[in-house]
Structure formats: structure tokens, C-alpha cells
Point group: C2
Chain length 179, copies 2
């Protein structure tokens, strides 16, 4: 069984890193706590007049490299591999790719070890990638391939709870995957 | 029809950039002209005692960004897209990913335009990617998927001529692909 695992907000706590930097940088401005996030993209979760400032935060050098892991995620993926599951990191770079591309590799290197960087598949279009399961927090995943070769299991996040689909967290993944 | 196009030594003239830098840096040392290359990896084409110096050349910052395009390649790919073929760049980073990962994105940006960077699939394992054709100079392509979903058409290079397989160049691609 091949499992494709998304990175941002599945293995890497993008939203927490964003909120931390946002509150440091703009302590006087409003912020949207995770539990109130109803929209997948953090930028679109903020009022129009703040969206450029939001973007500045996650485009800055070091943002992606310094994201903290989601609790339990690294252990879960390493356990999956020990159980004989084939793991690939399936992750989309930002269109403004300048910092995030390299830093995603550095993040995997730092948290999993260098040999795991061989397991990164960096693609804007995940429908091209063959796997049995894709664990991803994005509510709906589309691309060039009309019928992807994986089952999309949602990584449970407040902004995807309106989607009726199998979902998991790093606390209950073994039960959900029936392992 | 979806065409996956490799980058190094297919769209980007890796070998020429290497030879240029090698001869500038080590004018007194032997070099292997392209037509004498019998081995896919440039490093393994050189004697053991030179292999570290060979590697130093293509690991240095700016190497991947500055590679010249293969003559006719960019035009061919843009023509394919105009003909309605779906193009993705399917390229493997070096295990020493530090410079090449970002620079591959910069190369596509510079030679095709920023919107084409969305078409990059960066993966060590190309057997995971679904396409009809993979144009690649690597003699044999293996990975996790025992039966890849593409036909591998060789981009003709001296070091893959012992392989009996359909092959093309940017001069004859229309005939070979029957377009």
C-alpha cells in the first residue's frame, strides 16, 4: 500500500507558524484563530485589506524551514514505514516558489533524515501521482487527471469539516486506516 | 495526450554546461567529449580520482540555473502545447538537492515563463507519475511502480544508444510522435 502524505497542515503546522509570526509582527491587528478558519487558504481567511500582509508572512525566507511538526505526524509516518507501507510526501509548492521549494526539502531532511528527501514528490497537480491513499487537508483536490488513482482521506481541520469524506488525525490514523 | 518531459540533457544541456565549466576550471585535466560518453552519469564517466572534482562542478550554486537550453527543445515543447498536448516537466533533483531544486524552477521560469513552473513535477521516482509518454535520456527508468503508466521514449544521446527503444530528438520529434 502506497500512502501519499501532504505536508502543509498535515505534517507541518503551517497555520501555527503563520499565527505565531502574524501576532509577533502585527500584535495590534485582528487574527483568525484556527478553530474559526472556514476557508482552506489562510490568505482568503483574512479581510481584503490585510491579505498582502498575510502573504508577506509565509513568503519570507525561513518560514517553511521553521514550521513546527504537527504533533504525532512524524512518528505516525515513521510507524507506517515500519509497518511496510510505502510513503511519499506529496506536496505543492506555492506559485511564488522562491523560498518554499528548497525549504520543503530542508524540512523533510531535518525532521526525517536526508534519505527521506528521495520520497518527496513536489507537484502542483497531485492527480498525476499514483498512490492508494492521499492524506491531505485540502477539501477538494482536482487536476489534469479526472479520476485520480488514490483515495483522498482528509486530514481533519476546521476548514474541511463541511466535506463528507473519510478523515483522520495523527491520533486516530491506525483505526481509520484499519492497521 | 499527456507528455512528461525530462529536463537535464533533454531540455537543458547539462553536459555542455558541465564540459564548459570543467574545461575552464581544469584546463590541464582530461575530459570526456559527449560523443565518447558511454555512461549516463557524468561522474561515473570520469576516472575515480577525478570524480569528486566532477561533482563539485554541478553542485556549485548557479550551475543548474545557467544551463543553456538544448537546441530546439523549448520551441518543440511550446509547439506541443499549442497542438493541444498536455505538458509536464518531470525531473529528478540530485540527492544533494541544495542548489538544484530551486534552480530547476528558476530555469523553467526563465525559459518558459512563470506560469509554466506550475507544470513541474519534481520527483526521484518517475514511475509514480501518470502520463502517456515520458521523454527522457536515462536508459532505464525504474521505481516503486513496476508498470509505469507512460511509454518511455528515449531522448537520443550517445550514452543510451545501446538501448533498443523508440527515440527522438528536438529535430525529429514530430515524425517520431506522428504529429
Amino acid at each position: 500500500m502506497r500512502i501519499l502524505v501532504d505536508m502543509d497542515d498535515v505534517l507541518a503546522d503551517f497555520d501555527a507558524e503563520f499565527l505565531k509570526r502574524w501576532q509577533e509582527r502585527h500584535p495590534e491587528k485582528m487574527y483568525v484563530p484556527l478553530e474559526d478558519r472556514k476557508i482552506f487558504y489562510v490568505k482568503e481567511s483574512y479581510p481584503k485589506e490585510l491579505q498582502n500582509l498575510v502573504e508577506d508572512i509565509y513568503l519570507e525566507p525561513g518560514f517553511f524551514r521553521n514550521i513546527m511538526p504537527m504533533p504525532g505526524g512524524i512518528d505516525a509516518v515513521k510507524t507506517m514505514a515500519q509497518l511496510g507501507l510505502e510513503i511519499f510526501f506529496c506536496t505543492s509548492p506555492l506559485t511564488a516558489y522562491k523560498n518554499c521549494v528548497l525549504e520543503k526539502y530542508e524540512w523533510v531532511d531535518q525532521h526525517f533524515g536526508p534519505e527521506w528527501t528521495n520520497r518527496i514528490v513536489l507537484t502542483k497537480d497531485k492527480t498525476l501521482v499514483k498512490g492508494d491513499i492521499l492524506i491531505d487537508d485540502k477539501p477538494v483536490i482536482t487536476g489534469a487527471e479526472p479520476t485520480p488513482m488514490w483515495e483522498h482521506i482528509l486530514y481533519d481541520r476546521p476548514y474541511n469539516r463541511d466535506i463528507n469524506r473519510k478523515r483522520l488525525t495523527w491520533q486516530n490514523w491506525k483505526q481509520v486506516l484499519d492497521l
